[in-house]
């Protein structure tokens, strides 16, 4: 049936064409993802302009957002045809051809608080994840080609692609980023994520203005998935035409100028204009001077209350009717107290909110759906809160416990997971132990490892550890007879529920381990993590198979791709080849070896499955990451006024949050 209809449509189209109508882009006739009008898309709901025109048989006439009409008329902005690249990316909107205008409203706790959606509404990267089947589709890069052993990848950029200030975006911007920012030890002391795959920083070779090659030390089959998911937040390019003047390698006076302007040195000023985490730059007025390729650009200097973006006139995508994307004119994000979000959401004052919303607010949101004119869904989320004890804690009186598998196992089985899931996560999560998601090599037995609620076993283990003496309040003391208290500092960003620490502390007190609780900021947590003084870290994100391959340190020392979760001195030791830090125990070394071997293996092979299974086994045997709840759904509120919002398949940090939901083609109805 579908085929016949498509054929019919083609005939109709052909008829229209021969009748002299300018192509398939007449209003109401344009192709969408839901009804492609016979257009054979090569990647998800997008297609290169040349292929699109070849299929429709006519030239696509591009039109710009009327928002820019004044600037075009005054001559300060070139016409839309001059602004768009030759190689335009044509997007078939999900439901309908959108209309221009509107402001997309969001909310976050504060700048840089890990609570913001606004970056994922506008960000772009070389490639993008298509969330329907987790495949990789082109974005800024038009195409790419791997060599045979997947150590080298050559990207082709779009000819005529321009930065938001009208300057050309070329391979030079990528080369500048690799050679002068990432490989510059002063600017980047430690290369992050998959960019140092095989323990050597990526190398880049420029072929011509549109073509360049990345070369890795080892086969890197998940590289594209990395830059589409957990690496999506860090773009592999930088505006060299703006940044070179601040870079000491390019400008002799850079240092003097920076010092004169009141900065410590050129690096200090450079970091104001460039930060791998883009939204750190938009926080300052400097963000206004830095062009971008994203769908929206910073509209005014960010203040303590709000952050504003406006459509990028040079954005490289058009819809199937020829309208330049994005449809939505403005993005506005307000910084509000966490508790105020719920009130704003139910009043219909926020168009999309998902990050860091407390799951317990779901009933309230659901009851007010009609009033607030939005739809709330429970997306497939990530893991619930996890607990990682710091084995190498600088307070040595606690190492006997935190560095003991027995202690960590006892803490795990002291937790009543079914009750926790029922009371804090609406009964919707599972009770799995913490481990990678969606991998073929994990077993049910592994997922159930040390998750059964067994206070007797916990007590026995703690007794065996020598913690038999009790203080006046009945709490266990350390074997040497000193008071023992877990001092647990937490941030609500990671606990997911304000009651989570209270409940866990109750479970632990019930087996005689006293807990002191203190809520602190995420910033302070990270500071203490790096100083090795934090007792419990919760900043571990569930890796998917591709993350595990791309960033093996998520699942081996130091158990984080960005910071340190536990064992900071061990990581220092390994990174400095023994010059600094503390020599890690044998199992940590072994785990690291397995993780590295795994990251170089080809997905699906026996070697991959075997190493993956070992990786999980070693982590579980040592009870590194104590999981409390698995697959906790993520609340997602989407205004009913928005069109073209795909149904969310995956809503997780390591899947790029809303980035893969194509906010550039969302439109107000």
């Amino acid at each position: 049936m579908g085929k016949i209809r498509n054929k019919l449509t083609l005939y109709v189209l052909a008829g229209l064409l021969s009748a002299g109508v300018t192509g398939a882009q007449a209003e109401g006739q344009s192709a969408t993802a839901n009804d492609t009008l016979g257009i054979n898309v090569t990647h998800a709901n997008q297609i290169e302009l040349r292929d699109f025109e070849a299929q429709t048989g006519s030239k696509l006439i591009v039109r710009g957002n009327p928002l820019f009409a004044k600037r075009e008329a005054s001559g300060s902005l070139p016409s839309v045809t001059e602004r768009l690249p030759e190689d335009i990316l044509v997007v078939l909107p999900i439901e309908r051809i959108g209309t221009y205008g509107g402001t997309l409203r969001g909310a976050a706790g504060a700048l840089e608080s890990g609570t913001s959606e606004i970056l994922s509404w506008r960000q772009v990267n070389l490639v993008r994840l298509d969330p329907t089947d987790n495949s990789i589709v082109p974005d800024v890069a038009k195409s790419w080609a791997w060599n045979d052993d997947k150590t080298e990848i050559t990207f082709t950029l779009r000819k005529g692609h321009k930065w938001s200030d009208g300057n050309d975006f070329t391979s030079d911007d990528v080369v500048f980023w690799v050679n002068d920012i990432m490989r510059n030890k002063e600017l980047t002391p430690a290369v992050w994520g998959n960019w140092s795959h095989g323990e050597a920083t990526v190398q880049v070779t420029k072929i011509d203005d549109q073509n360049f090659t990345f070369k890795f030390a080892k086969p890197n089959p998940v590289f594209l998935h990395y830059i589409a998911t957990s690496g999506s937040y860090f773009t592999p390019w930088a505006a060299s035409h703006v940044l070179k003047q601040y870079h000491a390698d390019y400008s002799d006076g850079a240092n003097a100028a920076a010092v004169k302007a009141g900065y410590e040195d050129w690096k200090d000023l450079f970091k104001r204009y460039y930060h791998k985490w883009k939204d750190a730059v938009t926080a300052t007025e400097k963000g206004l001077d830095v062009p971008t390729l994203e769908s929206h650009v910073l509209a005014s200097a960010t203040d303590g209350q709000t952050r504003n973006f406006i459509a990028n006139p040079y954005y490289f995508k058009v819809d199937s009717s020829g309208q330049q994307l994005p449809y939505i004119d403005k993005h506005n994000e307000r910084f509000l107290e966490n508790q105020i979000w719920a009130l704003e959401v139910i009043s219909g004052n926020i168009d999309q909110k998902s990050q860091n919303v407390n799951l317990a607010d779901y009933p309230l949101f659901k009851e007010n759906e009609v009033r607030g004119d939005y739809t709330v869904s429970l997306d497939k989320g990530q893991i619930g809160p996890v607990l990682v004890f710091n084995y190498t804690i600088s307070d040595e009186s606690k190492q006997f416990a935190y560095n003991s598998v027995k202690f960590r196992n006892a803490m795990s089985v002291a937790i009543n997971r079914p009750e926790l899931v029922e009371e804090l996560f609406l009964g919707l999560a599972n009770t799995d132990q913490a481990m990678p998601a969606g991998v073929k090599f994990s077993t049910d037995a592994q997922r159930a490892h040390m998750t059964g609620f067994n206070p007797d076993l916990a007590n026995r283990m703690l007794d065996e550890l020598g913690m038999t003496r009790r203080d006046a309040d009945g709490f266990r003391m350390s074997p040497s007879g000193d008071d023992f208290k877990i001092f647990w500092e937490y941030s609500l960003q990671f606990t997911r529920s304000p009651e989570f620490p209270l409940l866990i502390a109750e479970y632990w007190r019930a087996v005689g381990i006293d807990v002191l609780l203190k809520e602190v900021t995420t910033e302070l947590l990270r500071e203490k993590e790096s100083l090795n003084t934090l007792e419990i870290s919760m900043e571990w994100d569930l890796p998917f198979a591709w993350n595990l391959l791309a960033e093996p340190s998520i699942y081996s020392a130091p158990w984080s791709a960005s910071g340190v979760v536990t064992g900071a001195p061990w990581a220092n030791y390994m990174n400095s080849n023994g010059a600094e830090g503390v020599e890690p125990p044998a199992w940590v070394v072994k785990l690291r070896e397995v993780a590295m071997a795994f990251s170089g293996s080809q997905p699906g092979t026996d070697e991959y499955l075997d190493l993956g299974s070992k990786l999980i086994g070693l982590n579980l045997d040592n009870m590194v990451i104590i999981g409390t709840a698995g697959a906790v759904p993520q609340i997602n509120v989407i205004s009913n006024k928005l069109a073209n919002v795909p149904s969310w398949h995956l809503n997780a940090y390591r899947a790029g949050m809303a980035n893969s939901q194509q906010a550039d083609q969302w439109s107000f109805k």
């Binding site: 779901y362 009933p363 309230l364 659901k366 009851e367 009964g427 304000p498 203190k518």
Partner: protein, 372 residues
């Protein structure tokens, strides 16, 4: 008794003419209805603070996992057909709404759970010394939750009663500490005068000029994180006292300055009275009543300060429960919309603050018994 005998005489003497000043104060205070009500409420709160373990059916950290986020279970004496029974509560079950997933409590009128008095329940240390398990009321099977439960199933009634002890004792200790500091410093300033007086007065002005909220925030943030809830409790009390003594010190000083030149003081001084004796024996009693009024006014101030600090998450911490800590957990929209009973502790605060204000009002009127 004296007055009743004298009224028998030929010339009936008004009992007021013979009453001591203390008796006069009492007569006057008793006529103040609101003040009497206030003092009864204060007395009740005092009793609650002493016996929370006995007055509550469970413990502040004990979770009723079958009844989480549950509304208050009212105690009935009439069933649905208006047949009288001994006090009972209906059986209740908590389920989730199939669509909104909200917790809903269903009343099962076919199940009546009798509420008994003086029942044996969970063990506690009475006054911190004697092991006991007797509770004023309770049930055999399902729990009675007069004020409902929180998200973890903890009984709000029990927690509010326990919090009364913490909050009231902070008020009492804080006020006493402030009283002692105020008396000593104000006394010193008033008695010595001169440079000592000037320095102390400038110090007081300095302390009073600091905006209180930022100061609390700063002091509370400076508390070492490793401290236990009890240590924090003591220090928070002292911080509040350290800020609360200034009004009292000024009052003491100004009174001393006025009294210093009174004839009876001069007489005492000429008779060779020591300074200390002069103050405590002759001057203090002359304005003690004013100080007591000040104390009663200072009490709600310190109580509210503690509540504010804890509400902001800077004062008391779990597992210590104060009224502020209880309200802290109610400060989100879902809690307000779906579990409004979490706000009941707020009513206690209002009640005690009003009671103290009435009480202070009555005292103020009574403090000068010769005025009328």
């Amino acid at each position: 008794m004296v007055s009743s005998q004298t009224t028998i005489g030929i010339n009936p003497v008004n009992r007021l003419d013979l009453a001591t000043s203390r008796q006069l104060m009492w007569y006057k205070f008793r006529r103040h209805r609101l003040a009497m009500t206030g003092s009864i409420i204060i007395l009740l709160f005092a009793i609650i603070s002493i016996f929370p373990e006995f007055l509550t059916p469970t413990g502040p950290q004990i979770r009723d996992t079958k009844y989480t986020s549950g509304p208050p279970t009212f105690v009935h004496i009439l069933d649905e057909t208006y047949t009288p029974h001994l006090p009972f509560i209906y059986g209740r079950t908590i389920t989730r709404h199939p669509v909104t997933l909200r917790k809903i409590s269903r009343v099962d009128v076919s199940v009546r759970i009798p509420v008994r008095f003086l029942v044996r329940g969970h063990k506690y240390k009475f006054l911190g010394f004697f092991s006991a398990d007797l509770h004023l009321f309770g049930t055999d099977s399902a729990q009675v939750h007069l004020f409902g439960t929180d998200k973890l199933g903890r009984d709000i009634f029990t927690r509010t009663i326990y919090a009364t002890r913490v909050s009231i004792s902070i008020g009492v200790i804080g006020v006493l500490a402030a009283f002692i500091i105020g008396l000593a410093v104000g006394g010193l300033a008033g008695l010595r005068g001169g440079i000592v007086d000037s320095v102390i007065m400038r110090l007081i002005e300095l302390i009073r000029s600091i905006p209180s909220l930022p100061l609390w925030l700063g002091l509370a943030a400076a508390l070492p994180r490793e401290w236990s809830a009890l240590q924090v409790y003591v220090v928070v009390t002292l911080i509040l006292a350290a800020l609360g003594w200034t009004t009292l010190a000024r009052r003491v000083r100004s009174k001393l300055l006025t009294l210093r030149n009174e004839d009876f003081v001069q007489a005492a001084r000429l008779a060779g009275c020591s300074d200390t004796r002069l103050v405590y024996k002759h001057m203090l009693p002359a304005f003690m009543s004013y100080l007591i009024v000040d104390l009663t006014v200072a009490f709600p101030y310190i109580l509210l300060a503690e509540t504010t600090l804890s509400f902001l998450g800077l004062g008391m911490r779990e597992p210590m429960v104060s009224w502020g800590v209880l309200l802290f957990s109610a400060q989100n929209v879902t809690a307000l919309a779906h579990t409004p009973w979490l706000l009941i502790p707020g009513a206690f605060i209002i009640l005690i603050v009003i009671a103290f204000n009435f009480f202070g009002d009555g005292l103020r009127d009574a403090a000068d018994p010769y005025s009328n």
